[in-house]
Amino acid sequence: MNPVPDDARSAPAVPVAPAGGRVRGRAVPSDAARGRAAGTAALRAALAVSRASFDIRVELALEPGERLALLGPNGAGKSTVLGALAGTVVPEEASITLTRRGVERVLDAPGRRPVPVHRRGVTLVEQRPLLFPHLELRANVAFGPRSRGASRREASALAEAWLGRVGLADRAGQRPHRLSGGQQQRVALARAFAAAPDVLLLDEPFAALDAESTPAVRGLLARELDRSGTTALLVTHRLSDAWQLADRCAVLVEGHIVEHATPTELATTPRSRFGAVLAGFAVLDGVAERGGLRVGRAWLPAVPDPARPPAEGAPALGIVAPGEVEVVAAPEQGRPVTDGVVPAVVETVELRGGLVRIGAGGGLAAEVPPHLVEAVAPGGGPRAGRTLLFRPRGLRLVDA
């Protein structure tokens, strides 16, 4: 695979849109007129989509050039949200507007016919590259500009420049099937950027890539987003994607956004169950009681999260870093459980970075040095299925 230059300045300057022209009543300003503001549009959307298992109700607002990561478990409705924005999924109710330099375009609104996919100025990049197999790479990348009225020559020049940016200039005349998965996804990104979308929708763009090619493609995407200033919505289930690419994160669970945070906040102080699991935290379910968390018969001291403190007696989540959880001992028959410790059944045991990570029932996890585990469970640590007592320190309490 060809290396991607890290320094954006070393790459050739590429116009982001076909030179001036008019496409279906929408003026396409010339490169000069666009200048640095190219590709920056604000997006406002409120969507309702009914599904068999749950309804999706989502409100999103992206400022010009802003990058939002939509994180969530499988089947949370992330791709449906993207589809509704792109126009490939028909929502029951939607109001979507794009504002570009003060000019507002309504893509979808109650009582109106939705703007068809090809006139939205919203481009999709999916998990699979979905390059057109019958077209050379050059023609693949030129597809967007050609569709929007650029001449064959302009589109071709633009395509070659973009292929250069993604490090595949020398492959312009080849068909997609001769490329590796990572290379194909680079071409897919080049193709999307060459279409100069108002908003770029990225649906798990690295999910189909192997671990080796992911960082390079992710770096490439980050660089081009920075350079073009394109407003982007990224769907992912990996926190590291969000951290490297997004300005803000929204956590989507069962069709509803349960948490808004910056990537750093999400990585360090998540406030939802999925956010916590995503960031590798241990999660305990319980009820807020006396300034702590009651889990079954155990009571654990905890600090209420100032942003989402639970009411007394309400269901609450206790969130704690696994490194702050101590493995105490095996519970003894007949002895009452004391405050501060909670019993849980061991599910997984893994050694990583000199620590033993013990995953236990109910979302609990502990990372402890091996000798401390040995002290509690001699001979290779606890087996799955065994009950241990855990003592979380500095449990953060959030409203469940």
């Binding site: 068809p116 090809h118 006139r119 100025g121 999709l124 979905l130 057109f132 597809f143 193709r191 929708l201």
Partner: protein
């Protein structure tokens, strides 16, 4: 794993049943007069008529069948199943019954044929156009099924991406959808052409057996064995021609498919 010996023996009988009659045909052809037999006016008439009508009916299949295949492939699961069943009926139906059905609709006393004849004096049965219609009736299912299969398994993701890149529906159809199903389209076209060339039953009932007008190759062959029209040697020669073209179709489709697999 190799199948047991007795199963392989049965398989041998099966292939013999399919291949030996063709071999028999090859032995009966009178090769010294082959060229003369084929170039007799009656044979040339039948050959020419077959080529022209099969080409026309294949074109009809393409023009009507592609939109139909596209609609089926993009319908809801239930609607698609219903439409597919409708398309399959002529495929399973004895062609003779198809001919009868066409006659009851388009014959001079038929549902549409009667008012058509009374108002314009035009009637389809026993005309070359009738041959084309009968062939299309029998061949179109082959086309629709193979193209629909290709459309269903390919490219909705590609189509969505193309649209999101700014391509309107027509551009998506011509630049993405059709090229993606090109193998299926070609297979469907070749299959329906071959089927049209060989069509007998529906043509015989609906279009009759009039030399130069509706007597295609299969009808000429049949007629020869009833003692009129072309000689039996000519019939055998024409059969050889149909057999060879079938072989070419099968071989062509296979190598083409293998190419398409990349």
């Amino acid at each position: 794993m190799r199948p047991p010996a007795w199963l392989r023996a049965v398989a041998l009988v099966g292939i013999a049943l399919l291949a030996l009659p063709l071999l028999g045909l090859l032995t009966r052809v009178h090769y010294p007069t082959l060229w003369r037999d084929l170039s007799s006016p009656a044979a040339l008439d039948a050959l020419g008529l077959s080529l022209v009508t099969a080409a026309c009916s294949t074109l009809l299949c393409l023009l009507l069948g592609f939109p139909l295949a596209l609609v089926i492939a993009r319908s809801s699961r239930r609607a698609a199943a219903g439409l597919r069943a409708l398309v399959l009926i002529p495929l399973v139906l004895p062609p003779m019954v198809g001919g009868l059905a066409l006659l009851s609709l388009l014959g001079r006393s038929g549902l549409i044929g009667k008012p058509l004849f009374e108002s314009t004096g035009f009637s389809l049965p026993y005309s070359t156009a009738g041959v084309v219609l009968a062939q299309a009736f029998v061949a179109m299912p082959f086309f629709v099924i193979s193209v629909e299969g290709a459309l269903r398994t390919s490219g909705r993701g590609h189509e969505a991406v193309a649209a999101s890149l700014g391509a309107n529906r027509w551009r998506v159809l011509t630049r993405v959808t059709v090229p993606l199903v090109a193998p299926g389209l070609l297979a469907g076209t070749v299959l329906s052409f071959a089927r049209a060339m060989g069509e007998f039953g529906a043509t015989a009932l609906f279009a009759g057996n009039s030399p130069g007008v509706t007597r295609t190759m299969p009808l000429a062959i049949y007629t020869a064995y009833n003692g009129v029209g072309v000689s039996q040697d000519t019939a055998l020669a024409l059969s050889l021609l149909l057999l060879l073209s079938a072989a070419v179709v099968v071989a062509g489709l296979r190598s083409w498919r293998e190419d398409a697999v990349r």
